[in-house]
Amino acid sequence: MLNYLVTRLWQSVVTLILASMVVFLGVRQLPGDPALAMAGEEATPERVEAIREQLGLNESLVTQYLKFVGNMLRGDFGQSTRTGAQVTDLVAATLPVTLWLSAYAIVVAVVVGVLLGIIAERFRGRWPEWMANALALIGLSVPNFWLGILAILYLAVAFGLFPASGYVPITQDPIQGFYHLTLPAIILGTSLAAVIMRQTRASMIETMKTDFVRTARAKGLSRQRVLVRYGLRNSLIVVVTIIGLQLGGLISGAVVTERIFALPGFGKLTLDAVFTRDYPVIQAVVLLITVGYILINLAVDILYSVINPRIRVGGKS
């Protein structure tokens, strides 16, 4: 297990170095000049040149990259070229919003998806399964932003069940915080829930046909108990994989969802930074997302071994 972890961590470091290069070069390939963006349309060429010098943009790419990596290792992500604020402060202010939103969306998606999946298996060939299948189809095919707009129009504006926008930090006021995040989380979690539902259903149907399920039923256990203790547990492996794979989609979904619900999150920070060629912010944001991905994948692998004892220790048998 330790060997495995060390290998995985080493792989992560390599991934990070590669990612930092791609980000660094990629950002500089974007059309548009940050110095120009900062100075404004009317600025004199001398003013633009001064800003360029101040940002270190006139140095060679290699020097710029090494400086960038060096600063990052010291925890210094630089300053926003747009507002002059420390990038670390910007990230610290916006990241929690997105993390709460994503976590909430995952919980919603897992609960709804797994429940619908179980219902679909339990009532195979009857109306509850058709309903669950139809819901999944809608969840997969209707785009987030459209669903979000509908939700705001009906659930928020017409019926006033949820606030249409706004954010209350959960650490300040948990009840109001979750209340404000509920609608965005449902919207963000919809397509994930649909995928999870389909996978749970398919994998439950397979598992419920296995020999050990029949043996469990021959013990005299109720169908419900067999469903949860024998069927679900073995089906969850697939679900965890799906969550791991779908998290990328969740992050891009978060960007859109935050925009619709006007949440001051990471997605909004990213979008604003891209539109204004705010190099330091873009770099920091993309790298953080990369780190996030790597950690999530690691977590998924570890979760596997918890659910499936056969994966637990490499080579022990």
């Binding site: 046909k209 296995t210 020999d211 050990f212 029949r214 043996t215 469990a216 039923r217 021959a218 013990k219 005299g220 256990l221 109720s222 169908r223 108990r225 203790r229 024998y230 547990r233 073995n234 659910i307 499936n308 004892p309 056969r310 220790v313 490499g314 080579g315 022990k316 048998s317």
Partner: protein, 542 residues
């Protein structure tokens, strides 16, 4: 539900006119099945795969797979009709009144649940809730089923148990609530003979001690004869014949039963060895000397497993040598080394004086042509997307033998040799039966006109009647083509039928070696004696 039971004790289970159908308007798979089991009686149902014996279990427990349902008849347990009982009612019957020991220990335990918890679950179904009591009872049950260190092992997962130990866990589960009837569905067919005997002995002790009735499902007449009071022979969903083991084995009335008895590979079955293929120049085709294969055990630094430990033997040209041993004895590793799929740590395996392990490139390719394998599982070893023709001529294409036209002719010729109609050439493996597929595998092995066939458990997955046909085919091919076989098997009865000489292996070493006759008549090692006495059916016929 009128019943005329003139027999003295009322039957515990009485099946009358049972008919089971899968799907709507389909032909029933069970026709008019009727039998009784009296308290304390042990009854065997014997039949080949597809005879409907497992469907009977599904019907009794009302756990038929898919859309199977009972379309006619009754299943009386005492005076309740299980055929008409509600799911709620069945829950009170399963486990409590009828216990099930399922077939395959590998697939019948939940892989993600500790073994102890799975036994505890069976107890929980009867309302045991007190944690400490349940734990104690679980350990008791495991100990009773013959699992050492039960307390520690209860906390392990199924993959940490051997096949035999898993089967003991399943027995513990089945007996946990002391049912009146125990159904054992081929409980040991996936296990080695000696393990099989231990488990069956143990099961019998437990069943006798509790006075439990036993319904024993098996494809093995020998096992049925050794273990039960009455045998029901089934074929194609119908009961063919019922009788005591002596009646069935010694004076069967029906043709089907007669064929089954004749094909049963018992210790004294007729010898099918191709005798007198002596026109060929003798001398060994395969010589194994001081072969050693070591594997490093992952996760444990420096520890090494000697799977094959300094073994030597040879295979004479035109004869069959069998390697017998249980799982883990190293017999398959030897085969893999001879086929060049594995390299030896030291020692040599020479085919016609040339070493495979040492050969490279062209020489190795040439050697590969002369040694061909036939594997155990005719389902797994044929690519399901290939046509039979493509499967058989694949070796010819790989070695660029002949053109398209001549290859087609060769395939037809090979199909004739293995007694398959030429029309199967355009079909795919899943359209063929297990026996037909094994014929295809043999045809493929023969395509390059090899001198030596390595048959790794080549008939173990087949029903007895089919097994007999394949063994006959192999013997015919040997006398016609002068082939040599290295036959790897765990089944001594098969060895008796086909091999000229035999090598008995255990834990990587050769325990005994000699002509089949000599080894069977006067085995020199204790281990061989143990193996011989574990052959089912030996007691009755021998």
């Amino acid at each position: 539900m009128t019943l005329s039971t003139a027999d003295a004790p009322a039957p515990l289970l009485s099946v009358r006119g049972l008919e089971v159908t899968f799907g709507d308007n389909a032909e029933p798979v069970l026709h008019d099945v009727s039998f009784d089991i009296r308290p304390g009686e042990r009854v065997a149902i014997v039949g080949q795969s597809g005879s409907g014996k497992s469907t009977i279990i599904g019907a009794i427990l009302r756990l038929l797979p898919g859309d199977g349902h009972i379309t006619n008849g009754s299943i009386l347990l005492g005076d309740e009709d299980l055929a008409a009982a509600s799911e709620q009612h069945m829950r009170g019957v399963r486990g409590r009144r009828i216990g099930l020991v399922p077939q395959d220990p590998a697939s019948n335990l939940n892989p993600s649940m500790r073994v102890g918890a799975q036994i505890a679950d069976a107890l929980a179904a009867s309302g045991h809730r007190n944690g400490a009591d349940v734990d104690k009872r679980v350990v008791e049950l495991m100990t009773e089923a013959g699992i050492p260190e039960a307390k520690r092992r209860a906390k392990q997962y199924p993959h940490e148990f051997s096949g035999g130990m898993r089967q003991r866990v399943l027995i513990a589960i089945a007996l946990s609530r002391q049912p009146e009837l125990l159904i054992a569905d081929e409980p040991t067919s996936a296990l080695d003979v000696t393990v099989q005997r231990q488990i069956l002995n143990h099961l019998q002790t437990l069943v006798d001690a509790h006075g439990t009735s036993l319904l024993f499902i098996t494809h093995d007449l020998g096992v049925a004869a050794d273990r039960t009071d009455r045998i029901i022979v089934m074929s194609e969903g119908r009961i063919v014949e019922v009788g005591t083991p002596a009646q069935i084995l010694l004076s069967p009335r029906e043709d089907y039963t007669k064929r089954l008895v004749a094909a049963a590979p018992t210790a004294v079955a007729q010898v099918r060895v191709a005798s007198g293929s002596s026109t060929l120049d003798r001398g060994p085709i395969l010589e194994i000397s001081h072969l050693v294969k070591e594997f490093r055990i992952r996760g444990q630094r420096g520890s090494i497993l000697r799977a094959v430990d300094d073994i030597s033997f040879s295979v004479e040209r035109g004869t069959t040598t069998a390697i017998v041993g249980e799982s883990g004895s190293g017999k398959t590793t030897v085969a893999r080394i001879i086929l060049g799929l594995e390299s030896a740590t030291s020692g040599t395996a020479l085919v016609d004086g040339e070493g495979i392990t040492a050969s490279r490139g062209q020489q190795r390719r040439a050697l590969r042509r002369r040694v061909q394998p036939v594997f155990q599982d005719p389902y797994g070893s044929l690519d399901p997307t290939y046509s039979i023709e493509k499967l058989i001529d694949e070796p010819l294409r790989i070695f660029k033998v002949g053109d398209r036209r001549s290859r087609q002719d060769r395939v037809a010729e090979l199909l004739d040799q293995v007694a398959l109609p030429r029309t199967v050439a355009q079909r795919r493996p899943n359209e063929l039966s297990g026996g037909q597929r094994q014929r295809v595998a043999i045809a493929r092995a023969l395509a390059l006109e090899p001198e030596l066939l390595i048959c790794d458990e080549a008939v173990s997955a087949l029903d007895v009647l089919v097994q007999e046909q394949i063994l006959t085919l192999l013997a015919d091919l040997q006398s016609n083509l002068g082939l040599s076989y290295l036959f790897i098997t765990h089944d001594l009865a098969v060895v008796r039928q086909i091999a000229h000489s035999v090598v008995v292996m255990k834990s990587g070493t050769v325990m005994e070696e000699g002509s089949t006759d000599a080894v069977f008549r006067s085995p020199s090692s204790d281990y061989t004696r143990e193996l011989l006495s574990a052959i089912p059916g030996a007691s009755l016929v021998g």
